[in-house]
Symmetry: C2
Subunit: 310 residues, 2 copies
């Protein structure tokens, strides 16, 4: 077994950089017009930086961000590991790719993917006390819900998990439902997907393979849904509801999202971290959907945990 | 001295209810068209509730919320008192009026006012261990900065403080600059104003008088500025910049604002607590102001602490 299970950050970085390229190519093809622009950035404190890529104002993609980052720091922030507070304050290295897609057509759902790899050391260079783990997942946020889309999304998520233990999908699906939850609204951000954190199951080789499987299953999960919905006609009513729902998306990311908090806490650049925010959001304060409309039923039918993969 | 300095929640409630009425009347006059609609709500846990008033879609006021609330609970949330963590978990009563104005014209600044009164008891009915304090303030958030407006705003704020100790204005001004600060952007939310918390200086009678002075000075501070700017012509460029700046406003309220966190933590109703959010916000991700424009210079000239009252 290559690397015999010891963590190989260089291999992860190589995969992450190539994944960013692949995701950007596929999204440019989907949009069919606009291209990504790249900004390289250096980390404010610590070392490292990233390649932030933004596609803005496309016909299909109103805003899409695909960021790669590789940073090191002297002190792991609190948001990095929810379950292992003992690692706080250690020297660390963090690699990650984050993707957020906000399509223009309200019938095309927003999508999010993240894969990340952390190494935390007691002292710089002290390998004996090194802890490492993967995290990530993907989740889907429809404005208008379609059972067909939710089923395809979750079946592809299940396929991403199938070689990694009998409970892998159930566990990652449940974690996703728990994580993307707006407590103050008592609703999920979207229809969920899979989410994992503090993952080092079966050693490095297996864990890295799982991380790659999640990264590789995103496009097969998303592109068929986007292509199926992108030509659906829409007007002011659908656009207004999209802006309203994007308000909830912004609420989640700013109030709850650990990745956002980690980025801000670790001294990352706000303009890139907050690239995940929707291009436009509305809080009119008096939004009232028509009785028994798709808008009114969204939360009831799609924003509660449900077993879509069956 | 009436009440000899012992806390009189009934008198505070009477003042707060009347203040809400006065503020709504003045804002309806300013708008000249739309009226406030009221929703009464009951607190989910605990006791009490509030009167949430919203004016939406006016000619001058795109969105204005003026809320009165009076709630009681068994356990004071962490966000209620930053300086006295020992009060956490006590039975409490909280009264407050909150106002947020988001004008339509980008040359009219957004404004915020809050006044609040807390009583925390060791045990229900145990007056000996009662702690009470006032909090509040008002602050101004321009999209386009005008020194004339900032001076008028801060001079009126200074006038609100003048009978309450020689250091009152300087202290409340500095607290405001510290509080309305977006660390991740390294800029203030706006030009500031005054802010106070945990205030029981000179006993109840004096503290209540200070709270009333702040409440009473809001309209003289804001109305002249709104009237001066509300007929300034504006177009797509100004509207786009307003939406961009409103994104920062939403970031502050969702990431940092203690009143928002207190509301969500104390089981308040999200739709009313988040009435403070702007009607529309944009995060385009690639906003670049023209060199040396009013848009580019806003942060440098207006969003850093400055002594405007001189």
């Amino acid at each position: 077994m290559k690397n015999g299970g010891s963590p190989d950050a260089a291999a992860v970085e190589e995969y992450f950089r190539a994944l960013q390229d692949r995701l950007c190519d596929a999204l440019e093809s989907l949009d069919g017009g606009k291209k990504f622009t790249e900004q390289k950035w250096r980390h404010r404190a610590g070392a490292g930086g990233g390649r932030a890529r933004l596609l803005s104002g496309g016909t299909v993609l109103e805003k899409a961000g695909v960021n790669f980052s590789a940073i090191s720091g002297d002190s792991l922030p609190t948001a990095a590991s929810a379950r292992r507070p003992e690692l706080q304050g250690r020297a660390f290295r963090a690699l990650g790719v984050s993707l957020v897609v906000h399509p223009r057509n309200p019938f095309v759902p927003a999508a999010h993917l993240n894969v990340r790899f952390f190494v935390a050391r007691e002292k710089p260079g002290d390998e004996k006390t090194t802890a490492w783990w993967f995290g990530g997942g993907f989740d889907l946020t429809p404005v208008y819900g379609f059972a067909e889309d939710a089923r395809h999304w979750h079946r592809t998520a299940r396929a991403a998990c199938k070689d990694f233990g009998g409970d892998c999908h159930a566990r990652c699906k449940a974690e996703c439902d728990r994580y993307f939850y707006l407590r103050h609204r008592d609703e999920m951000r979207g229809v969920g997907g899979i989410f994992f954190d503090d993952w080092n199951r079966g050693g490095f080789t297996d864990s890295f393979a799982f991380c790659r499987s999640v990264g590789d299953h995103f496009l097969p999960a998303y592109l068929p849904i986007a292509r199926r919905r992108m030509d659906t006609p829409w007007g002011g009513r659908e656009r207004a509801f999209q802006s309203h729902r994007r308000g909830r998306y912004a609420e989640f990311n700013l109030v709850y999202d650990r990745g956002t908090l980690f980025g801000l806490q670790s001294g990352g650049r706000a303009e890139f971290i907050l690239m995940s925010l929707p291009p436009r959001a509305e809080w009119r304060g008096d939004f009232r959907p028509q009785a028994d409309s798709a808008e009114e039923n969204l939360a009831r039918d799609f924003l509660q945990p449900r077993d879509w993969a069956e």
